[in-house]
Point group: D2
Chain length 350, copies 4
């Protein structure tokens, strides 16, 4: 295949808010890389941090950088040591780039590698026509998969890993948060046969999305009776599983209170600073546990996600609300940043 | 409530084939028992063994015995030390009666108690208007549950325990056998979001039941290409989970061959004698495992089953094919024993 | 056996500091109780709270109460429904009294029963010549066991449960705290073949106890270089397991910092109020987990403890530093409450 | 470092019994390989199969082949893409060579890779002065480790993986078989704090080795009272864990009979053909499980083994009975093949 020399890309060109549409060389794959023509890409909250140039971004990102890390596309070239992929493969990508030799990488925890790099954060990303990535980060999709579904598997995989970190089938669950991560989590819980699925939401726009994803009961996060209502809905036992997808202090407090004795509190949301918790009553006396979730298991999570998607038990499409051409990225970021959150997942098409 | 002194019951009256409809005293509950008015009861394969008076039955059963152990009904009286149930409760029953003090009972394995007794096998059963059973064996149903579904939870629970013994969500699975246990297993796997569900059946009558329960692919058990077809359907990997619900040598052989490396072989079916297995290639080199399943976890299994049933993720009704008045039990047993197996689960109504 | 009508006991007689030696009737066992002649009993931190009459005690304890819950002794009488014990049995006791019928009791979590009562806190205790307790709380010891070892199994069991909550063999571990719970934990980790055992202590007196229990490295809790030293001792990886036995804010902070990515933080210590934690860096990004531990698994923990004690892999005797006649309880409490903690576990002999 | 061009090696030169000492070129490491100067190497049962040229060897081995796969040595050169090792590192090797891209390799099961190759069986081995091996198979030892202990870690790792496949601390265990695998297993069980360790042996020579490794009770495998004695030694419960290290029909039969209800039967030994088992009574009714063990987890097993070895909880030296110069390999193989098994592990020094 004849590849072009240049491509368009969205670049954080300088240390300031915003980004630019630029023309850059098509990347060359190294010996263990695959080169992919991007079919669709989607925007992560992390991309908004980079776009906004907030304090986290200022400390981590080194412009110029083509960012973006959620995508699906076709392999168009491979490095000479690649053995698992070939041109024509329809792939998505794991954004966590492991070193391969540290303690974590050698004990089935590549996703939290001791020297972890992130695609589109620490390396050139996918808001572009092409991206080169290490073979270890490539994931082959079933060719029948819809490109929209294939595209958003990286964030969907967070929900799959978080929800299935322990068994959920037949258990009561409360999902805190209605961003894409929260809505995906409702879908995974439903697909895996959770018992009663209680969704605690903030934005009214997401109520319909939540229902389509499979929630049974919806409460508002600032309802002063929230914990009482959850206790009542669970016959006084509390929920066996809390999925905390916000990082918000109030949600964490409520979640620990509504957790059943012996229950699982899944911590995926990222508080921006230290939080207060009642460890004694929330965890120790309850014999409960807090599971920290970061990334996706490489690749247990992806195989399970493929099983759920291919069987039709999980359909993420209600969460995908917008699609823009890549060049209209500014409009896309504005929709995503709007205060009233009249959006779910937003896709960009190069 | 005023209880009658006498009731009708189906009794294995003497050591020979068949059973009799008799009138016996309504049982008196002991201090830790509940007395239940039976609303519906269903026939287990074990009951057929007792009815047929085969060699197993001759060695285990001591006539006269009112048999039967699958049922749902209403509590009408309780012993003076009962604390978890009260008259009016709608209950089903766990058939395994644990001693409460052995090693297994004290380490969360009551269902395989070292001195295990079985309801309706070692004690008076439920093919009757009333049954008295230990509180430890009673399970409270949601009052909204259909009595047919409530009635068959004991055998359904076998499938719930067996299928969910390890995680199944998103995984490929082959279910060997199309009796009620096999068909229930397909339903549980589907409700829990299994990936590809392959059902290996014997009787054509169950093909439609299998589809309704959620299987994706159906093969016949004696297809000489069976293993090859399963390998092809799983991209050469094999199935991650085999559910062996028959005890049949051929099914066990096929199951071990189609099992993926690192996979789970769930042994629920009961061979009538020693079997031959290729332990080296079937399990050791594969790094696979065989999980023996007996009964239901008391009561983890029941709580998960309630979650699946109440959320609608699991509907056992396609497996229930017949309903007879209790007095017509002979007709019911004849349908169940028919060579062509034109039946699923059969219910008797007192 | 002829039992006396009266016995001596230590009673919290009124809502104030201290306790009194009194004469009270020997308790009568109920139908499901065993009556035990106390051979040895030991003092728990909880007993000190009761003795001191602090705010926790004022909210929970209802005088008059014979307190104490750690002991070993001989069964001298049983209720008529008791099946697992008989006079002459040498027993110790689980202090958690489960209701037997709640969600937790029915799902292998009796130790965190939804309606949990505690022996010697919510019921009459063992600082006495005799105690009656429910059969469900009795544990039969090997008759060859030393009474001192048998006596302190309740607190030792906390350490067994906490340490073995997940696998520890060959793993690096840091134990925070040098009270009896911390020292026992070092012993259990050593007996189970933990890799490098780092003990973080406060009181110099316990340094020798720690070494005898099997620690490899000892640091002081307020060493400003503590985390750096632990990281260095683990080749920069951090410890795979933190055992937090203090409830102290500083220990929790240090523990979360020294925890390896993917590691286990075991929360046994009970903070007296809400604490601050860096959930993002301490748990979420690390993919770590916090396990709340309360009580002992009934009776998985006890069986494992018996295995460790009977094989000689675990010897708790270095932690037992004092023995007093029961009547000298005031002296015992004073030793235990001394600021410089020149004691470990203290035994009282009726 | 200046490397010689030639080295001595033991080669299966032609398809017949025996082997030859030859001179061959020192291998060149590929881009992802490390080259190691062999300090010590040991003989596996697999090497005896190759030496004897039995039917398994005839079907698998393609002469000429330098065989051997257990060793320790120093890295002397690395390929240009190697990042985890450098010259001077003291290493041992995992013998399982994974493909890196199959289902098993991508789901934490590299050790049972779908396209598995074995070092010294499918590739050139370590009975030589030097060996080149893929970085993925190299394991860095603590420099303080004795070379004999470092050398035998591959077979010792089988025992570590098999024994610690589930928790063993405080549990009763029966180890079937007294070859190096069986004796190592006793040592791992002891180091991990198993409760009662029963060793079922064949050869009297190994009795003393067994005691030194930590067994509490020794029975002979052909004792007609074997199962009864084990039941008696476990108060009628049976052993919670059977470690089957022989592949022998009689040992498998006995093991299944002595297994406690709910217990673990660990299948490591490799029967030479199909075996007969009583699946119903041995596994299904018992609610037991059979775990197939092959290789070592890469590298969970190795990290745990390092923890056990470095802490001194596991000392494999009693199993190492002989040491020969590499050139005297014929004498070594004769000792190892002797009918009366007056040997344990045998080391060769190049």
């Amino acid at each position: 295949m004849q590849l072009p020399g240049k491509m368009k890309a969205i670049m954080k060109a300088k240390p300031a808010e915003g980004a630019e549409l630029v023309e850059v060389p098509v990347p060359k794959p190294g010996p263990r890389d695959v080169l992919v023509k991007v079919q669709m890409t989607s925007i992560c909250g992390t991309d908004v941090h980079i776009y906004n140039w907030d304090s986290w971004a200022q400390g981590r990102i080194k412009p110029p950088l083509v960012f973006g890390h959620e995508f699906a596309g076709e392999v168009v070239a491979i490095g000479e040591m690649v053995t698992g992929f070939k041109p024509g493969d329809f792939i998505s990508a794991e954004s966590h780039i492991p070193c391969g030799v540290c303690f974590q990488c050698r004990t089935d925890m590549q996703h939290i590698c001791g020297k972890l790099k992130i695609l589109g954060v620490d390396t050139q990303g996918c808001f572009a026509d092409y991206i080169a990535l290490p073979e270890v980060c490539a994931w082959k999709n079933d060719k029948s998969m819809k490109p929209e579904s294939a595209c958003i598997q990286e964030p969907l995989g967070n929900a799959v890993y978080a929800t299935l970190a322990e068994d959920i089938t037949g258990r009561s669950v409360a999902v805190m948060g209605c961003g894409p991560a929260g809505c995906f989590t409702v879908g995974v819980a439903s697909g895996a046969g959770a018992g009663k699925i209680i969704h605690v939401i903030k934005h009214e726009f997401r109520r319909e999305i939540s229902k389509k994803m499979g929630s049974h009961i919806i409460f508002k996060y600032d309802d002063p009776q929230l914990v009482d209502k959850v206790m009542k809905a669970t016959d006084g036992v509390g929920v066996e599983v809390v999925m905390e997808m916000t990082g918000n202090q109030l949600a964490i407090d409520s979640g620990l209170k509504m957790l059943a004795k012996g229950g699982r509190f899944t911590a995926f949301g990222i508080p921006s600073g230290p939080i207060q918790i009642d460890l004694s009553n929330g965890i120790v006396f309850k014999g409960g546990r807090i599971l920290g979730i970061n990334g996706r298991e490489m690749y247990k999570t992806w195989f399970k996600m493929a099983g759920l998607l291919n069987s039709g038990k999980l359909d993420p499409s209600p969460v995908i609300t917008h699609k823009f051409p890549l060049k209209d990225f500014k409009q896309a970021f504005d929709v995503m940043r709007a205060k009233d959150r009249q959006s779910g997942k937003i896709i960009l098409v190069p």
